[in-house]
Amino acid sequence: MVGKEILIAIGIPLLAFSIGISLMMFRRKIAARIQRRYGPNFIQPLIDIFKLLAKKGNITHGIMYDLGPIIALAASITVVFFIPMPGMKLMTGSADVIALLYIMVIGSLATALGAGESANPNSSIGVARALTLMLGYDLPFVIVIITLVLKYHTTNLYAIMQAQAGGSWAMWVLPLSAIAGIIVTYGALGEHPFDAAVAPNEVATGPMAEYGGKHLGLLMINHAFHIYIELALFVDLFMGGASNIFYFYAKMFVIFVLIIFFDEVLPRFRIDDAVRFYWRWPTILALIGLIIVLVK
Amino acid sequence: MKEIIERVKRISGAEVSVRRENLIFVDVSRDKLISMLYDMKLEGFNQLSIMSAVDRLEDNEFEIFYVLYNYREKINAVVRSRIERENAEIETAEKIYPPAHTYERELTEMFGIKVLGNSESGKPFILENWKDKPPMRKDFDSVRYVNSHYEFRHSAEEETEGKNE
């Protein structure tokens, strides 16, 4: 039995990574088609990652600089274990949304610490922006989580997912909270219009400005996990999870394509505008959702 | 059109020559240059298009010129003045025309003409680490400079490129 658990322990992150990277592949291809071009080779993101890991030169600015991407990656993998994935149970039974909220912050903080040590002002500004944006989208996100917890009378993610089985998705029951949730997903993924933290024209890719080679490769792997985490969380919270992995993937894909479509036609917010936006519209929507649940 | 030219002619110290109906040249002496520019601005020449200098090496003089434009009368005026080539210096016009500030910085760098009253005159602007004489002067030979500082590629070198390094 132990052998099977180890297999699953390796299998879950691998599967999560493949889902994340495949969505990245689709992302570049779909974006290219919107921009009237042919687009890159389909497996381009994978080639990029392997090339970055095969880079020879190495540079370091201190211990945190090196540890930053590693801690971020470790935190992401930890989060992956807590998010219910159909057919693979290891720790999902004990997944608690409130604990999850805290673990998810670790990755961003680790990147922030690492980038901060590189002493590049662009990185510091980018980090400051990323953390400010986190402050912005965490408020509606927490309200949305509270709404769901009150609705289903549990803080267990798996139980929330199970309660929606059979078609009564939270998306249909609580549409306002779901809209707030998808806007939060935009910010968490750093897509337009909430990409001020990595804006090339302003801060030269922000936190990543000093990262290159293997570090950047790790950050890209982390990004693949990140895409998986945010989308899987949304699917689990609002779309009732899925009974098998293909169904799960299809749901994530639909949400992701929706995100890309908006991403490609919107300019970016200034960071103060982004926070103001988050504390206004999604927060109001989430609050109304909360009130509806409370009144019922 | 004619009226504005007449008005410019009445400014004291101005020698006006008309090149086209919308381009006139105004020659003044060095000490009247700034007051002339001031009068021109009062006449409605609101825009400084460019200012720079011409090195008149044979006369041992610099010719400073200001190309002005009158938006209402649609006429260009070039105010020119000659100064001595040795220890050349002029007064700044940035109080009258703000864009002059940058042109004067370039003037100092390219011709070595000092601009009094311009806080940034003489600071490095376009060139970096320039040690030779100001490059836009006529007695600066750029071909000689190039030959002494850079090496050209020769056909024989091309063949062995990569080996002799």
């Binding site: 500004i125 804006a199 302003e202 960071i271 | 298009s49 260009n76 070039v78 864009p99 940058t102 750029s142």
Partner: protein, 367 residues
């Protein structure tokens, strides 16, 4: 601990329009002082031109301003024609107009890509640059080169239009007019673009006149100053067009002015193709290029570029080489007099946006 810190934007930074550097001093996210640092593209044009024949300079001058090289050829040719007293044929005037307006279109499309990218909208960059390339095809059919045409030269234009080129250019005009609607829907009517651009980097009419603004920057404050109307050259006096004017004076107004100028340019091309004499010489016979002894004298010739007034001040001493040529680019006052003042007090996020809304062209500053 001091509150402010320094940030160098550029030269290796996508936020600056080309090889140019900006020294910013920031307090938090707000800029407290800005200083431009030019010179990365200095090639000593004005010195080089003194050492070359007039005809050789023709190969040098397009390189002064890369996005729109034809204005240099036109202004340089006009200066020589003025000094030599040459009148160019009717058909050449129209061809010059078409070429200049097509170049203006390409310059604005290029600008549009950069401006949209500075606001984070990369899709428009892709579309606009892709559509610009079809205009480049027109150029390469007409002149044989994609970027540096050397087509307009003293006395007229280098050669006549190829057969069927008129129809092709009309087809392109029609194509781009359709595409402009797409651009409007994607960008110029985009609520988020308006949110970002409205009220940013606002200048009043008095300030614009005082600081020497020209072109779209001045038109956006409500002054219809345009060399094409004020000192008509080429075939502009025979054509019917209006100067677009807005009164807001902010980044949004400047963007919309440029958007209107594209339409204006397309209309001018259409008119010029239709009104153009169908036959006739395109070049006034000039002496052997090695013997272009330009009479002694000084002149100032100017044209309207996509960024504002572009002029050549030329001094001739009667030989076959110019004695002194000074180039006036619109970017010089726009950058050092206007942008340095506008950047102070704005946010770091807007720095690249402001530079692009003024359409700074570094090669024109450095020369």
């Amino acid at each position: 601990m001091s509150k402010s810190y320094e940030l160098f934007i550029g030269p290796n930074h996508p936020g600056v329009p080309g090889n140019f550097s900006l020294h910013l001093e920031l307090e938090g996210d707000t800029i407290v002082s800005a200083k431009g640092d030019p010179g990365y593209l200095h090639r000593a044009f004005e010195k080089g031109m003194e050492n070359r024949l007039y005809i050789q300079n023709l190969a040098l001058i397009p390189r002064i301003c890369v996005p729109e090289p034809d204005i240099n050829e036109a202004a340089y040719s006009m200066a020589i024609e003025d000094l030599m007293g040459v009148e160019i044929p009717e058909r050449a005037k129209y061809i010059r107009t078409i070429v200049l307006e097509l170049a203006r279109t390409t310059a604005y499309l290029q600008w549009m890509g950069g401006y949209a990218a500075s606001l984070g909208l990369y899709t428009l960059s892709q579309w606009a640059t892709g559509d610009r390339d079809y205009a480049i095809d027109m150029f390469s059919e007409l002149t044989g080169a994609r970027v540096y045409h050397m087509y307009i030269w003293p006395g007229g234009v280098r050669r006549d239009l190829p057969a069927g080129w008129e129809d092709e250019i009309l087809g392109y005009v029609k194509y781009l007019k359709d595409k402009l609607e797409d651009y409007d829907n994607l960008f110029f009517k985009n609520a988020m673009f308006m949110h970002r651009a409205k009220g940013v980097a606002k200048i009043t009419q008095e300030q614009a006149l005082e600081w020497g603004a020209t072109g779209p920057v001045l038109k956006a404050t409500g002054i219809a100053q345009d060399v094409r109307k004020d000192a008509p050259y080429a075939a502009y006096p025979y054509l019917d067009f209006d100067i677009p004017v807005l009164t807001e004076g902010d980044s949004w107004a400047r963007a919309i002015i440029r958007r209107m100028e594209i339409e204006n340019a397309l209309n001018l091309i259409e008119q010029a193709v239709k009104k153009m004499p169908k036959k006739g010489p395109v070049w006034t016979k000039m002496p052997n290029p090695f013997k272009w002894y330009v009479p002694t004298g000084e002149t100032y010739a100017k044209v309207e570029s996509s960024r504002g007034e572009h002029g050549f001040y030329m001094v001739s001493d009667g030989t076959n080489k110019p004695y002194r040529v000074a180039v006036r680019g619109a970017s010089m006052p726009h950058m050092f007099t206007i942008a340095e003042k506008l950047l102070v007090g704005s946010r770091l996020a807007d720095a690249s946006h402001i530079l692009l809304s003024l359409d700074i062209c570094p090669p024109e500053i450095d020369r």
